[in-house]
């Protein structure tokens, strides 16, 4: 069952909660109280809505991908989060959390980033609100996302390379949490997905659910706006997917499909399919599906897409999986890259590699979907991935 909010221990069914060092617990309570008060305050909504419209560029369009629809024999629509300011859905959350940071009277922000999209979106919100900003980024991601590193620095943010562990998103989250343990009195942690200890998964979902709510009014069953049969979104931590799924979850007429990274192939063990191949445990403060060994050590994820290269997933997705509200599948690096090229050539839209995973699932299942109205959450644009894809062909 879809829950409006987690229970008083921050749980979505068996998942979620707050497993954090005691030093952080008061800040998590403070954040929950600040969020609840802001979310019930018309003035906060008015300020946020104005920013979403005039600064972020919402509502984002829904585009009927005509050529690709014809090739695939389906009716394919793209929810164009790639056209939001900074080029991905991440800005919905960072603008809202930036406003909340000001309300809490904090003047410093920290964040983690994988592909760099959340880092750029946080750096942007901090420039907008005049907040000091530090972004933690794995050294491996810094290498493959040089463009976004430079964008963050242009925006006045300090980017700190994380060399511990696997040097990717997992370690960036851990490093940001460690910073927060030390800086909690003056600093807010703008977490980038529906992960982390309560209240983050709930709050970030509330800030991202605008995607699905817009889609409902855009594809409302009127002429040229058929209601969706299937909605597909990529899942790393799961914020864009939660954003587009949430208002449809439990709606019998709509099939929801989350697509994780199968990396080099599930059988190789080098993947990011936390829901498909993981097991319940605690990662980064919440109970969820995660990739771990028999001893409870966190395993390294793998994906060509830095945003999906994460061994955990938001706890509400874990709940949706167990409850059967959403189906989760996975797609390999190779199929995602093929979809990246195909959308670029057929529609003139270069997608983020994350979003290309969703499209690759649609392409692979087009026969079964024949005649259906399929919506892909085009969560981000692919400029950041161009160099990496080009390198594959050298």
């Amino acid at each position: 069952m879809r829950l409006d909010h987690p229970d008083d221990r921050g749980r979505f069914g068996d998942y979620g909660g707050a497993f954090a060092p005691e030093t952080l617990m008061p800040a998590l309570k403070e954040l929950e109280e600040a969020f609840v008060a802001a979310w019930a305050d018309d003035a906060f909504h008015a300020e946020l809505d104005a920013l979403l419209e005039h600064y972020v560029g919402r509502p984002t369009p829904v585009y009927h991908a005509g050529r690709l629809s014809e090739e695939l024999g389906i009716d394919l629509y793209l929810k164009r989060e790639d056209l939001a300011h900074t080029g991905a859905h991440k800005i919905n959350n960072t603008v809202a959390q930036g406003l909340l940071t000001k309300r809490m009277g904090k003047n410093r922000v920290i964040a983690e980033t994988g592909a760099g999209q959340h880092g750029v979106a946080t750096a942007t919100a901090c420039a907008l609100f005049g907040l000091d900003c530090v972004v933690y980024m794995g050294e491996k991601d810094i290498e493959r996302q040089a463009l976004n590193v430079y964008r963050m620095r242009l925006l006045g943010t300090e980017v700190i390379p994380v060399t511990t562990g696997t040097g990717t998103l997992k370690d960036a989250v851990s490093a940001a949490l460690r910073d927060w343990v030390a800086s909690v009195e003056t600093t807010h942690y703008i977490i980038g997905s529906v992960v982390g200890p309560h209240p983050f998964p709930w709050m970030v979902r509330e800030f991202q659910k605008v995607i699905g709510e817009e889609l409902r009014s855009q594809l409302d069953g009127s002429p040229h706006a058929p209601t969706p049969d299937v909605i597909v979104a990529p899942v790393g931590g799961g914020s864009n997917a939660m954003g587009i799924f949430y208002s449809y979850a439990g709606d019998d007429g709509v099939r929801l499909v989350g697509v994780e990274a199968a990396g080099l192939g599930i059988a190789t063990g080098k993947h990011g399919a936390s829901l498909g191949e993981g097991s319940p445990g605690v990662l980064h403060g919440s109970m969820t599906y995660m990739l771990q060994d028999d001893h409870g050590q966190v395993l390294e994820a793998h994906s060509i897409s830095a945003g999906l290269d994460y061994p955990g997933v938001g706890p509400e997705h874990a709940h949706f999986k167990d409850d059967g509200l959403v189906e989760y599948f996975s797609v390999t690096d190779d199929d995602a890259v093929a979809a990246f090229h195909r959308l670029s050539r057929t529609e003139g839209i270069i997608p983020a590699l994350e979003s290309a995973h969703g499209l690759a699932w649609i392409i692979a299942n087009a026969e079964h979907l024949e005649g259906s109205v399929v919506v892909l959450n085009l969560s981000g644009r692919g400029d950041k991935d161009v160099q990496q894809v080009a390198a594959l062909h050298d």
Partner: protein
Amino acid sequence: MTDNGRLQLAEMFEEAREQNRAVLLPYLTAGIPDVGTSIEIFAAMAAAGADGFEVGIPYTDPLMDGPVIMEAGEMAIRSGVTVDVALEVVTAIVTETGKPVLVMTYVNPVLRHGIDTFFAKVRAAGAAGVIIADLPADEATPFMAAAETSGLGFVLFAAPTTDDDRLAGVIDADPAFVYAIAEIGVTGERTDASSNVARLAERIRRLSDVPIVFGVGISTPDHVASAARHGDGIIVGSGIVRRVLEAGSPAGAASDVGAFVGELVTATKRG
């Protein structure tokens, strides 16, 4: 000696109170730099007067730890220190020194074992208590029940940021001792003695006479002397782990750390 871990810890605190000093509980990650040497180092620390130990079971994403203990944890995991190997180290320390040992880890390795299985194994290994760095009182109920069943002491945290309501919740849960976090931040050595210890101890003392053990950022005899005035015990971690990581040889590690612990023990005496 009692066969209940919680009572063992209580006796340790009682004896030190009678002697007007705080207990010293050095921390070292199990199996650092290797299993055999780590047991020798614990023995050297016991010979230098340590009252008991915290033995770290390494975890890949230790959110409460700074760079030194993280590095030790990564090294231990690479060299195959699992929960079972760490518990073999615990058994060897208990056998060799007779001192109470607390196991320190993070919540996921415990969950992966199963809470009840984990606690039963820890007690069977001879440990007296368990500390889980990312387990706040709010989530602790099933862990505390398993600790009680197994005859182990369970520890909860209080931080300088912990407000009065939360502090009352920690005291009500009746931990074997309160791990009072002396510095807002992760584990690691600091230059100055904590300015938080007096205030935090006073706030806990207003509610209970539960033993208070200070940890995080305590790394010199001066820090220990300052904390000993306000608490029943002191945990020193990074200062010890760094000496082990920097030592040129196993024998050197044991003698360096033994000498350092001797200085810390001297500083635990009040007045």
